[in-house]
């Protein structure tokens, strides 16, 4: 069993105590951070004070993502990388090997929706390249996609092709115009809105314009059907606390003044 956590730190330089708390309370095995400006040595030092298991920094060529693991970096190797993406092959002894793709995609402030959708096509191609390299499809994609689960880039066959039910994903692929496209399962749909425990999304934005969603699910975990046997939906959550301290305002929104404007997402794989 391995526990993963992704968090966009919103360039806050004083979240080390929260990260340590997350590590201790939730027993995180793999930390993945976007918009991290905290020096790596500072996080690593804080994580490893009084820690039974030592954390390691995973060096990558992707400046946008910082990864720490509770196991040696000899078990994790990069396969495909770019400035916004790192795809790592995780091969732990006695465990199912997986591809862990971590990304921070382009934002809505600087990129229009068509361009964001096109970036998803490039991302999907990168993932397929990595899958071809390692010769398996046990892939998990996690990160700040800067898009909601219903946006075309996430849904389109020629994009990430992420669907809202296991049943559809377990068909593994579908054919459009004679070309086959592999599915991802997107469990974030199940956490959207107030019908489940936890925050209704990972990011809140209220604006005085006609079309506004208020809650957005910008941070997502997408899972290939091959990994569904080792993933349970109840092991995925949006955290509004670090185990000790609330990361939310009194109204329940991400407390962006003191912490990040994104909530972390945590999930477990039984590998």
């Amino acid at each position: 069993m391995r526990i993963f956590l992704f968090w966009n730190l919103n360039k806050k330089d004083d979240l080390t105590a929260n990260i340590v708390s997350l590590a201790n309370v939730y027993q995180i095995d793999v930390f993945m951070f976007a918009e991290c400006v905290i020096p790596i040595h500072k996080i690593l030092g804080a994580l490893n004070i009084d820690s039974v298991s030592e954390y390691y920094y995973v060096p990558t060529n992707c400046e946008k993502i910082i990864i720490f693991t509770k196991f040696s970096d000899e078990f994790i190797a990069p396969v495909v990388e770019s400035d916004r993406l790192t795809i790592q092959h995780l091969q732990l002894p006695g465990s199912l090997s997986i591809l862990l793709a971590v990304t921070h995609l382009v934002d809505k402030q600087n990129w229009d929706e068509d361009s964001q959708n096109a970036e998803c096509t490039v991302l999907a191609d990168s993932i397929e390249e990595a899958e071809n390299t390692v010769e398996h499809d046990r892939t998990i994609l996690v990160g700040d996609l800067n898009m909601n689960p219903f946006q075309a880039g996430v849904v389109n066959a020629r994009g990430l092709h992420a669907v809202m039910t296991r049943k559809i994903a377990l068909e593994r692929s579908r054919i459009v115009q004679e070309k086959s496209y592999k599915f991802f399962y997107n469990p974030m749909w199940s956490l959207f809105g107030d019908g489940t425990e936890g925050p209704p999304g990972t990011y809140y934005l209220r604006k005085s314009i006609h079309k506004v969603y208020f809650w957005n699910m910008l941070d997502q975990v997408l899972i290939r059907p091959e990994l569904l046997p080792v993933f349970n939906n109840e092991d995925l959550s949006i955290l509004d606390n670090d185990g000790v301290t609330s990361l939310a305002t009194e109204e329940g929104y991400p407390n962006k003044n003191n912490y990040s404007d994104h909530f972390p997402i945590k999930f477990q794989l039984n590998i």
Partner: protein, 132 residues
């Protein structure tokens, strides 16, 4: 059936951006005894007829880094180049859009991308690792 096509159909003397990038990729292979190569792959274009991605790859490490994208229309030039963000910030800090209107301009852009600190660091790191 009468052939209605003009008799002077022929390829242009222009060298396509794809060809230039592909050749540069091969040259990286030559320089590193194929421990590293540059590869060009077609991608879905955005508002253009053709789109490609240039990656630096290490076959022994089964690793690839996506260095830049480029796009162009059927006229071949101008070509729009979207480099890695760190490369762009270093080499083209004042340009929102990087455009090359000719073969020479495209080669000049590639030269700058290849000579950037990010690219050199990447190549050095990969060569070091592959030789360990």
């Amino acid at each position: 059936m009468t052939d209605l096509w003009p008799t002077d159909i022929q390829a242009t003397d222009l060298i396509a951006p794809y060809t230039i990038a592909k050749e540069q990729g091969k040259l990286l292979g030559n320089r590193t005894k194929n421990l590293l190569v540059g590869r060009v792959r077609r991608i879905q274009p955005r508002n253009y007829d053709f789109g490609y991605i240039f990656t630096i790859e290490s076959p022994p490490l089964s690793y690839q880094y996506r260095l830049f994208h480029f796009y162009y229309g059927v006229g071949l030039y101008p070509v729009t180049i979207e480099p890695d963000e760190a490369v762009k910030n270093e080499v083209f800090p004042d340009s929102d859009v990087i455009t090359a209107c000719s073969e020479d301009e495209f080669m000049e852009v590639l030269k700058k991308i290849f000579a950037s600190e990010k690219t050199k660091h990447l190549i050095t790191a990969l060569l070091t690792q592959v030789q360990e």
